[in-house]
Amino acid sequence: MVHRKAGALALVAALLMSTSAIAQDKRVVTWNADYDPIPLAAAEALIADFEAANPEIDVQLTNFDHEAYKNAIRNFLTADPPDLANWYAANRMRPFVEAGLFADISDVWANNGLNESLASSVLSSTIDGKQYAIPYTYYQWGIYYNRDAYAAAGVELPGEGGVTWEQFLANCEKFKAAEIDCVTTGSSALWPVAGIFDYLSLRTNGYQFHSDLAAGRISWTSPETRAVFAEFAKLQPYVTANHAAIDWQDAAAIFVQNKAAHYVMGNFAVGVFKEGGMTNDNLGFMVFPEITPGIARAEEAPTDTIHLTSGAKNPDDAKTFLAYIASAEAQSKWNAAVGQLPTNKDATVDPADPFLTAGFQALSTATGGIAQFWDRDADAEYAKAGMEGFQQFLVQPDQLEAILERLEQTRLRLYPQ
C-alpha cells in the first residue's frame, strides 16, 4: 500500500518537475518544501539570488500542501528522495535521522562557522553529536495582550518588563469581574494548550526540568510536576470556557473582539490579529511572567529547518545551497518577507515591527535556553498523551490525580525505567 502511494506521488512529482526542467546543462538541486504563498515567494526570491551568484546550479523547488507534506515526506524520502527537504528540528527529525534518511551535515556546520552564527540552534539541530539540520527561521511565543480590553476592565497596562505572576493573576480576577476572559485559547487541535503548559513548566522549574519532562525522565507525580499543575490550577478559572470546542483562530476572534485580554501564542498569530482589525496601538506583547524567582528565563521558539537527504543525487551543490540558507544575508531577507525571526545571530530584523523586535530581544536574552515546543521536544506519542492531559486539566481540574496517573503510566510504558 505504501509503495503504491509512493508511486502515485513520484508520478505527480515527475509531472511537476518536467515543467521546470528547462535548464538541462545546469547542475540540478531538488528541494521539497511545504510553504504557504508568502514564504514560498520568499524562498523563490532566495533561489533567484543564489542562482545569480552560482549560475551553474539550478535549484528546483517542489512545493507541497502543508498538511499533505507530513505524509508525503515519509514516502518520497525512500521512493524518490530530493536533495533537500523541509522539516523541523529536535525530536521531530529524530525518526528520519534514525532511519538513515537525513544525512549528516556536520561538515557544512564546521566549514561555515555555523556553530557560532547559529549558536542558539546548535542543540536542536544535533543528534548524537552530529548536525542534521540547517535552521533558518523561528518565532517567539509569549503573551499577546489587548490594550482595549485592559482599558475596558480598568486594569493598568503591563510595563516594559511585563508583570509579576501575582499581578497577572490579580489582573485576571479584575478581567473576570468585567466579564472578559483573562486568557483565551482554542484547544480543539490540542497544541495551543501545550504553549501555556510549557511556559508554566519553564517558569516554575526551569529549562532543564522541562526538557527532562519532555524526554520522559521526570515522573508526572513528582512534587516538581505537581508544582507546575498547581500554577496551572491558579490560571485555569480564567481561561475561556469551551476552549476545547474551538480552534485557535476562533479564539483569536474572541481576542480581537475585546472579549479576552491575553493570548498565549506564537508570533504567527499577529497576522491573524491584524487581519481582525488590531493594530500596533492596541496589540501588545510581553514575555510570560516569572513564577519561581531567580530561574533563568527560557523561551519557546519552534525552529523550521532544511535537511540534506541521504538519497541526494547532488549533495555537493545542495550543501552549497544549505550554507547560503544559513547565512545572515539569506536569513535576513527570507524572515523579513515572512515576518519571522532569523536564527543567525548576525542577521537583521525589521526595526519597524514591534513584535519581531520584542521577540528578537526576548530570545536573544533568554539565558535559560530555547525550547522547541512541547510537540517537538517530546516524542510524538508522548507529546499527544501530554497535550490531551493538559487539555483535560483545563476542562476538568478536579481530575488532576487521574490525569497524572495516566500520564505516568504512558511514561513508564514509553520509557521503561
Binding site: N242, A245, E388, V395
Partner: protein, 308 residues
C-alpha cells in the same frame, strides 16, 4: 442422432458450464483478491510488528516483530477502551434511524400535491457529503454563536457547548450522523412501501385492522427485505463512523469522542501516530467486530436463498 459426434458438443458444453463462469468471475476475483483479501492479510501481518512507517534508504522494511505485543497493549490502553465504548454507543443509538426513518417514510407515502418536493427535501441530508454534515453540525453546536448553544443559553441561562463536553460529545456527533442516516433509511422504506400489496391492505381493512395493528401485522412483515437492508447499512454506518468524528472534534476533547476507526487512523497515519503495527492491530479488532455482523447477515441471506 445418436451417431452425431459427441466430443465437439461435450467440450463446448464443458466450456459453457465450467469454464465460462470462471472467465466471467476472473476480473471480479482479481479485484477482490488485490483490493480486499491482500490488504486484509497485509494488515493482520503488520499488526504483529512495531513499525513507524519508514523504509530505510535501501527500501528495506524497518519494523521489528513483536508478536502479540500490540494486542497486549490494546488491552490496557484506556483510549482503546473509550473508543470501544463509543463504538457501542454508536451502534445502539444509530438504530434509532430505523423507527424514525420508517415513520417519515409512512408519513411521506401519500399523494398530496408537491409530495415529490417534500420527499426530496427529506432525502436531502443523505445527498450532501458527510463532511458538510459535520461542518454544519459543528457550527450548530459551536460555543458563543451556534444556534444550539444560543438555544440552550436562552432556555437554561447557561449555554452548553456539546463538542467541548467530554460526556456529551459522542451523543452530539451521533445526532449529526443520524440526520443523513434517517434520510437513507427513509428512502429504503419508501421504495419498500411501493411494493406493499394493496389487496392485503384492503383485506386487512375489511377485517377491521387499522393504526398500529395494521402497521405491525400487515405492513411491517411485507417490509422485511427493506428492514434487513436498513439494518445492514445502519450497522455498517455506525461502525465506520469516521468522517464526522474527524471533522467535528478530531476525537477530542482529550480523546473522549474517539471511535475505533478514528483511533486507528490517529495511531497509523495521524500527526502524532505513525505506529503502523498498533494501528493495524486496531484495524484487525474492528474487522473482527464487523465480521460478527457480516457473517450474521451472510448466514441469513444464505438461509433465505435456500428456502426459495
Amino acid at each position: 442422432m445418436a451417431s452425431a459426434p459427441p466430443d465437439h458438443r461435450t467440450v463446448r458444453r464443458w466450456n459453457q458450464r465450467t469454464l465460462a463462469p470462471w472467465l466471467f468471475l476472473t476480473p471480479g476475483l482479481f479485484m477482490f483478491a488485490v483490493y480486499v483479501l491482500w490488504p486484509i492479510v497485509e494488515s493482520i501481518t503488520l499488526s504483529f510488528y512495531d513499525w513507524n512507517g519508514l523504509y530505510n534508504q535501501d527500501g528495506e522494511f524497518t519494523g521489528t516483530f513483536v508478536g502479540m505485543g500490540n494486542y497486549a497493549e490494546l488491552m490496557t490502553d484506556p483510549a482503546f477502551e473509550t473508543s470501544l465504548w463509543n463504538n457501542l454507543k454508536w451502534l445502539v443509538l444509530y438504530m434509532a434511524a430505523l423507527p424514525i426513518g420508517l415513520f417519515i417514510a409512512i408519513f411521506l407515502n401519500q399523494t398530496v400535491t408537491g409530495i415529490r418536493l417534500y420527499k426530496s427535501l427529506f432525502f436531502f441530508p443523505f445527498v450532501i457529503s458527510q463532511v458538510v454534515v459535520g461542518l454544519i453540525f459543528a457550527w450548530f453546536y459551536a460555543p458563543n454563536f451556534g444556534l444550539f448553544y444560543l438555544l440552550t443559553e436562552a432556555v437554561m441561562g447557561q449555554g452548553t457547548a456539546i463538542l467541548a463536553d467530554p460526556d456529551l460529545v459522542t451523543y452530539g456527533i451521533i445526532v449529526a450522523g443520524l440526520w443523513p442516516q434517517i434520510a437513507y433509511v427513509m428512502i429504503l422504506y419508501l421504495t419498500g412501501l411501493n411494493n406493499v400489496a394493496p389487496d392485503q391492505i384492503e383485506a386487512a381493512r375489511l377485517d377491521g385492522a387499522k393504526g398500529w395493528r395494521m402497521l405491525w401485522y400487515v405492513v411491517l412483515p411485507q417490509l422485511r427485505p427493506a428492514t434487513f437492508i436498513a439494518v445492514i447499512v445502519t450497522v455498517i454506518g455506525a461502525l465506520r463512523s469516521f468522517d464526522l468524528v474527524s471533522i467535528m472534534t478530531t476525537g477530542g476533547p482529550f480523546g473522549s469522542s474517539r471511535v475505533l476507526s478514528y483511533y486507528m487512523f490517529e495511531m497509523a497515519l495521524g500527526e502524532f501516530g505513525f505506529r503502523m503495527g498498533y494501528g493495524a492491530a486496531i484495524a484487525v479488532v474492528l474487522f473482527a467486530i464487523m465480521m460478527i455482523f457480516i457473517s450474521g447477515f451472510i448466514w441469513k441471506m444464505w438461509r433465505d436463498e435456500k428456502e426459495r
